[in-house]
């Protein structure tokens, strides 16, 4: 039987302290221990991107990351992307472009794109960079066309000030 350990970490800005089995994946920790079910099980082997979260600002596939790796680090999940009711420009653009159909891949796509944008700083992001980043995310529904369009739009719309209140949309 795996040993247990006490995990102290920060999730979406909130400090968390929990006793968990040492072999717990970050995805199971988020979904089952914290009830943050926005990150999805798509494949559990690191090949679909549906479980993407940020670990210290970098995109991470939480299904193949041990929860223990989050010790004393910052985790951000899809639940922590919107600022209250204010959607991030990536979320707002995906919404506006109907870039989600079934929506199961969408949290992972949002996390991939927000990491790319946050990380780029002032470096301009071109189509090739977008396609390369999104190469890690599988979507079975949309054919990616609207996701790409939304991503380009989100880049154009700039800082998060242009997001809209989630409560006002839909």
């Amino acid at each position: 039987m795996p040993r247990d350990l006490v995990l102290t970490t920060t999730v979406n800005g909130e400090p968390v302290r929990k006793l968990i089995p040492a072999n717990r994946s970050l995805l199971d920790f988020l979904r089952e221990d914290l009830g943050l079910t926005g990150s999805k099980h798509g494949c559990d082997v690191g090949d679909c991107g549906a479980c993407t979260v940020h670990l210290d600002g970098q995109p991470r596939l939480s299904c193949i990351t041990l929860a223990a790796e989050a010790m004393d680090r910052e985790v951000r999940t899809i639940e922590g992307v919107a600022d209250g009711t204010l959607l991030h420009p990536v979320q707002e653009a995906l919404h506006r472009h109907v870039g989600a159909q079934c929506g199961y891949c969408t949290p992972g796509i949002v996390m991939t794109l927000t990491a790319l944008i946050d990380d780029a700083g002032d470096t301009p992001i071109d189509d090739d960079m977008l396609r390369e980043a999104l190469g890690a995310n599988i979507c079975r529904c949309t054919g990616y066309t609207k996701i790409l369009a939304a991503a380009h739009d989100a880049l154009r719309s700039g800082d998060s000030q242009s997001g809209k209140a989630a409560g006002e949309i839909g």
């Binding site: 099980h41 494949c43 079934c102 979507c139 079975r140 529904c141 054919g143």
Partner: protein, 783 residues
């Protein structure tokens, strides 16, 4: 929103009903629910494709930590078998096993980990493996192993026509086409959660396209009335047909577990399990002879189809029917003999998948067109142009081989338009020049027309219900029988309801699909979700509006017929008005009922399978694609350079959603035809059960230039809002990729063009070598 607010919510490009939930992670799927005390299931599966079960030893598993119960077929209180057409699918294997991966026992434990751990401790002993397993269509034909008798559709005199064509300057070609399987790869795998409630009721929350089937089958398995089972569907993370019949077994297992333990039970399949134990698209074998006259018209077609149904009948019969109905694609073929039969094999059961046999039938038809065109020295598109259904020709060429009329020559106009707008002729010349200048890189261009029949071919399924509730504050709850799997059905239904009541879409809340709100529903399938449910929603909303109109007319001092309903206001002819909310309150005060059901059954469809004649479809949807590809002769790699699509969705209920269906359907078709290869080992077990070995299209596979246009002025009479179904048809436009690939491959030399499916890089390389008439394994000689 960038789009100006539309006066009517119908035909507006509104975002998906769940859109905010999708982008914030708040949208709930079945696996996201896990009430305290939930037991997790792990399924013990058959290790072999055939055999008699000697024993199932569960002792060690029962003692494993956290285990609450281990259930086998002996624990099923009711009917041990389920199945959408034939009851031939044991929920848990009884005396025999039929495929590697079949469910044999279920372990229930406190955690998923514990259940999985314990499942490895269950010993399943088999003996008498019997004859060797049947693993494909050829093996089944040899062993005479079939699920169905042949289904025949015949017209004219095929043999005579084929015999006389060559003498009259025509050609006769023959061929054999094998289409591959396809895994649905919905991003959300199968999942069900069963909750015991009071009075012996079990509520099953399921990721299913067919909640009524789950309810019916769970009731049978438990041996209780259907009134004791409620099936609820929050939404699905994709379905594509994979959750039409095959979500039923996991849901029944969850219900069985909940009934047995009195605790909530969740059955969730990992990606590996989902791919290994549930079936996908039917692999088909088609053998044909095809005759064309000297003008290039498709005159005679003699086809035999076999499909690989897997171990149970599932939906294989209807899938074969639809394949036969689409062997003509968009062409008038005077002499036809179409015969189809479903093979029984020792593999996971093949099932519904977007297109439902249509893609396979059309792939066979188009192979004949290309082969015939080469024999005639014509371009395939010229043969197509000469062969289309044409009700305006004399004599009219407008009856399908099964006798249904194809009312208007829309496909001809669409073909001509797309040839023009895609600049096909000029691009052919550019491609010829490019190919002349390049040795290893070659380009090709192809065209793909499509006619697709809309309706369930099993006429009984063409019915739907809805239940609409208006509250005294003017807000509305909408229930209908359809399920949401990403296709945007709920968004469209909200628009239909809001349009009839004249309220804003935000005033209408869509409820989870649930069998206790709308009973006896059909699966959300056959692209018919909005056609059927839309009419039912409209009828329910109209009934309420009619009742409200009496009160409104009285308050506004006008005639009922003079009222208009829009933007949350009810208006009389002279500018007098009241808020819909106030009217709802007034109706309540006056004791007027504010809820109603609606019901719809598609009129005028019937098919006599014994005679092979009838009108199985309410109407046809059309599309045309022009596809340009580039292939690399050293790697066999293929790139989609440009795709132009003109698609007919009638008057779109929501252009944003419909465009998404065209994009997604086309790319899924590209996957089936080029990257997705389903492989099995000698035990019939799936070999590639994850995204690293089973390649569904990624963003890099999307056309560099993708132009989709929805046909305008395309009103479809008799359908909700003049719209047409859109879920499945675009999938088949991807067959144009094969047309383009064969065009590119033929540029390598004068040899035969024989591209096997799926056209993986390996298959493309082999085809290039053959065309270049070089032995396998050597570089092709460019010009």
């Amino acid at each position: 929103m960038t789009a100006p607010p539309a006066r009517s919510p119908l035909h507006a490009p509104a975002p998906h009903d769940s859109a905010v939930g999708h982008v914030t992670g708040a949208a709930i799927y079945t696996d996201d629910l896990c009430p305290p005390g939930t037991l997790h299931a792990a399924i013990v599966r058959s290790p072999a494709p055939t055999g008699r079960i000697r024993s199932i030893d569960t002792r060690r598993a029962r003692q494993s930590p956290g285990v609450c119960a281990v259930l086998t077929a002996d624990d099923i209180p009711g009917d041990p078998c389920i199945g959408p057409v034939v009851h031939d699918e044991p929920v848990l294997a009884r005396d025999r096993v039929w495929f590697t991966g079949q469910s044999v026992a279920m372990v229930l434990a406190e955690t998923r980990e514990q259940a999985r751990q314990a499942a490895t401790l269950v010993r399943v002993e088999l003996d008498d493996p019997g004859p060797a397993p049947i693993l494909d269509v050829d093996g089944a034909i040899a062993a005479d192993s079939f699920h169905t008798d042949p289904h025949r559709i015949q017209r004219g005199d095929v043999d005579r026509a084929l015999a006389s064509l060559p003498a009259a300057g025509g050609v006769v070609v023959s061929g054999e086409v094998r289409t591959g399987g396809q895994d649905h790869f919905y991003l959300e795998t199968h999942c069900a959660l069963a909750l015991p409630e009071e009075g012996g009721t079990i509520r099953v929350i399921s990721s299913t396209q067919h909640p009524t089937e789950v309810q019916r089958m769970a009731a049978r398995v438990l041996g209780v009335g259907q009134h004791r089972i409620i099936c609820e569907v929050p939404r699905m993370g994709g379905g594509f047909g994979g959750k039409e019949s095959q979500a039923t077994a996991p849901a029944c297992l969850a219900a069985l577990g909940a009934a047995h333990t009195g605790r909530p039970v969740k059955v969730w399949l990992s990606r590996h399990e989902d791919m290994a134990s549930t079936g996908g698209r039917h692999p088909f074998l088609g053998r044909y002879r095809a005759g064309f006259d000297s003008r290039g018209r498709f005159v005679a077609f003699d086809v035999e189809l076999f499909s690989d149904g897997g171990w149970t009948a599932d939906l294989s019969g209807p899938v074969m029917d639809r394949a036969l109905f689409h062997l003509d694609n968009a062409y008038f073929i005077e002499h036809a003999r179409f015969v189809g039969r479903v093979c029984r094999t020792n593999k996971a059961s093949s099932t519904a998948f977007r297109g439902f046999g249509g893609p396979q039938g059309i792939a066979v038809c188009e192979d004949a067109i290309r082969r015939g065109a080469r024999a005639l020295g014509l371009r395939p598109e010229d043969v197509r142009r000469a062969s289309y259904y044409d009700g305006e020709a004399t004599p009219p060429r407008d009856r399908t081989p099964y006798g249904q009329q194809v009312p208007h020559p829309r496909i001809i106009a669409m073909h001509d338009r797309l040839v023009r707008t895609s600049d096909l002729a000029a691009r052919r010349q550019q491609i010829a020049a490019f190919n002349a200048a390049h040795r290893w890189l070659r380009r090709g261009i192809g065209l793909q027309p499509l006619k697709f029949g809309i309706s369930f071919t099993h006429a009984i399924l063409n019915q739907a219900g809805a239940f609409v509730v208006v509250y005294s504050d003017g807000t509305v709850q909408l229930n209908h029988g359809g399920t949401e799997m990403g296709q945007g059905l709920h968004t469209k239904m909200v628009a239909v309801c809001a349009d009839v009541l004249g309220v804003l879409p935000g005033q209408v809340r869509i409820m989870r699909t649930s069998t206790d709100k709308v009973p006896n529903t059909s699966p959300t399938a056959a692209s018919s979700g909005s056609d059927l449910n839309g009419q039912a929603v409209r009828e329910a909303a109209l009934r309420i509006r009619e009742r409200m109109a009496t009160v409104a007319a009285d308050r506004l001092g006008c005639d009922r017929s003079e009222l208009t309903w829009q933007d949350g206001m009810v208006r009389g002819p002279d500018g007098q008005s009241m808020r819909f909310a106030d009217l709802a309150h007034a109706c309540w005060l006056e004791r007027v009922s504010l809820s109603a059901t609606g019901y719809y059954a598609t009129p005028g469809i019937a098919y006599d399978a014994a005679a092979g004649q009838g009108t199985p479809f309410f109407y046809f949807a059309y599309g045309v694609a022009v596809v340009e590809v580039e292939v690399h002769a050293l790697t066999g790699e293929t790139r989609l350079r440009r795709v132009d699509i003109l698609h007919d969705v009638g008057d779109s209920l929501n252009p944003a959603i419909d465009l998404g269906q065209v994009h997604g359907g086309f790319i899924q078709g590209v996957g089936w035809l080029t990257t997705e290869e389903v492989l099995h080992d000698e035990r019939g077990a799936a070999r590639n059960t994850g995204p690293s070995t089973y390649k569904i299209p990624a963003i890099g596979d999307v056309p560099l230039d993708f132009r989709v246009e929805l046909l305008d002025n395309a009103t479809q009479p008799g359908v909700i809002g003049g719209s047409k179904a859109v879920g499945e048809p675009p999938f088949m436009l991807a067959i144009g990729v094969i047309d383009a690939l064969e065009d590119a491959i033929s540029s390598f030399g004068p040899g035969p063009v024989a591209l096997s499916l799926p056209a993986t890089p390996e298959a493309v390389l082999r085809a290039i070598h053959r065309a270049a008439r070089r032995p396998e394994g050597r570089d092709p000689q460019g010009r």
